[in-house]
Symmetry: C2
Subunit: 364 residues, 2 copies
């Protein structure tokens, strides 16, 4: 989200979201401290995780709200909407914590993951039992804590009860769909899924609906949007969300590790069955397929094999195909948005256009 | 909960709770099926888990409500309250699923745990990657799904918004306290905690508040209870909840595996630092301490060592001490309840007395 197109409004919103979610968690952490000071470092790990992030989901939710409510909605209500939508960062924190355990990831946003840090504490103290299990337990429970806080923060935003209950089905759908989408993803990875439709289902549920469509719906419902607007947001969200993830898939293989905060080629090392990889496998010559299969899930993936695998992804045309798909989905998203742009707040439409561009053309 | 004192009313309530939670999850599972048929067996695993259980938390919540609302509250409202309180079974399902992953447990309620069953599926198909990791991911995500469904079910109970929002802080406290309590428990186990105060904190937060006090508060808040009633329920709940867990601790070492559904002496095998164990370690002679330390966390705990460890727990007086503590806490719970019994519905008070007896004198 460092595109030069990012407006000051998008940056300001991100800062507001950060302030709200950190304030909520710090207040809760103080209550935990009263139970036991031992809970301090654990809650602090969640706060550290929440200090970073693109705030994409809250941003889509707030712009979804403003698109319907208009730029002239009361400032006080805007602040409450930002607080309600900022709660999505807690759901995302749970997803990250549990993902890192499931993927056995060492790094997150350039820092050691929570399960690894707690494993190290266990090792340093020479405590009883398995250090890795201890680290995983700490991270699983911290994710549960964050997930439980999601709707608590949502309901403490100051919005009135009818408004909150109107938005809640979008939050409910988000939580269920991201768990289900993640499960389908884990299943696809394990099977070495090559069926493009199965991969697309994961893309839609784990990424597109979770990252864009449902957040937009949440904001739109808070503003009591008409069904036609909800539909336009589905069109925009499902297309843009897929494009966003496809960009992520490209960055997961070709991204600069200093910018992404993850080791280079990490997606290949983890054996991720992305559309990029599935497309390349379909088009590959036998020798090319062998290179890719060697690289996929190879824990000791070195610079040479990574280079070869990247070459295969390029020369099979898989990279170009995914880039074209991103462009097409980006256009599709804008078209869906524009079917309703006459009824929507112009500054919100502009922000959604900018978010679409930033999400599909980012470098991390 | 098979005490002869269990009334027909308690049994009938349990059946109602089961019907509500199964109906909710079956409806949600149908929606998941529409995303992908692959989600069917996964959602079914949650349904299977939910088919069993003592329904203790919903029972305390409903009796908490009835104690305040009275036996003559509208039947329709009673039904909605049962539906709202039945959602606590989903929170409990998450706790069980994640607990089993963290403890690497093989069995739950006499059946193979979800992570073990999914591990076996992975092995049978010869899928890629680590089978154990796959099983854990499936169980972690299923727990997340259940946790997310908790407040969705609560809010879909049919109760009006002001009532639901009045009860919600109890639900919020339950979720945060059980995660925090579990974390403190994992920490205590790893450290081989012997400090009785640290063990008591775990007992109160992980068990007493989560199982009894907060559910009672939830029901009482739904009925708009006076502060004095909330206080009485804290007194009853924190005391009874501790007694309940202390009984669990005794059953975890001395329970009949055919009745508990867990291998005999499982708590010793897992190295659990219960009040029972900490008391025995404090009182043990050097030779007795060696026996206990050998048994604690011993994966290959055999019948002979189990027998010896049980003898140490008895001869040090730890068993008698814990039994006395259960009796004292049981009395304390009843006294706290009776400070308010003049203002509470008599049939609910009777049910709470019966629940107290059943929880402290059960065999599984």
């Amino acid at each position: 989200m460092t595109s030069p197109m990012s407006s000051i409004a998008v940056d300001a919103l991100r800062a507001q979201v950060s302030a709200h979610v950190l304030q909520f968690v710090q207040r809760q952490a103080e209550q935990l401290h009263q139970i036991s000071p031992e809970l301090g470092p654990w809650a602090q790990a969640l706060i550290s995780l929440l200090r970073q992030g693109k705030r994409l989901r809250p941003a889509f939710a707030v712009w979804g709200w403003q698109a319907v409510a208009g730029a002239h909605a009361l400032q006080a209500v805007h602040e409450q909407v930002v607080a309600a939508c900022a709660s999505l960062e807690l759901l995302q924190a749970c997803a990250l914590l549990h993902d890192d355990v499931m993927d056995a990831s060492a790094l997150r946003r350039g820092q050691p993951t929570v399960h690894r840090r707690w494993q190290a504490v266990h090792e340093q103290h020479g405590w009883q039992g398995n250090s890795a299990h201890f680290g995983e337990a700490a991270a699983i429970l911290l994710g549960d804590l964050a997930l439980g806080w999601t709707d608590q923060m949502y309901f403490s935003s100051g919005l009135d009860a009818p408004t909150l209950l109107r938005g809640k089905p979008a939050l409910d759908a988000m939580r269920a769909e991201v768990s289900a989408g993640q499960y389908l993803d884990v299943l696809a990875q394990s099977r070495g899924e090559t069926d493009l439709r199965a991969i697309e289902t994961v893309l839609i549920y784990k990424s597109a609906k979770y990252t864009v469509e449902r957040p937009l719906h949440l904001g739109a419902l808070l503003a009591d949007a008409a069904p036609a607007v909800m539909e336009a947001f589905t069109g925009y969200g499902v297309a843009l969300g897929q494009a966003f993830q496809l960009r992520d898939d490209l960055l997961g293989v070709f991204g600069d590790s200093e910018v992404t905060g993850k080791p280079a080629g990490d997606d290949l090392r983890e054996g991720k069955r992305t559309l990029l990889v599935a497309t390349a496998l379909q088009r590959a010559q036998p020798a090319q397929r062998l290179v890719l299969q060697d690289a996929l899930g190879c824990a000791e993936l070195d610079a040479d094999l990574l280079h070869q695998a990247r070459q295969v992804l390029r020369t099979t045309g898989a990279v170009a195909s995914v880039e074209q798909r991103i462009t097409a989905l980006h256009q599709q998203a804008l078209q869906a948005l524009h079917t309703q742009s006459a009824t929507l707040d112009p500054s919100a439409v502009q922000a959604l256009e900018q978010l679409a561009q930033a999400a599909t053309q980012r470098h991390h």
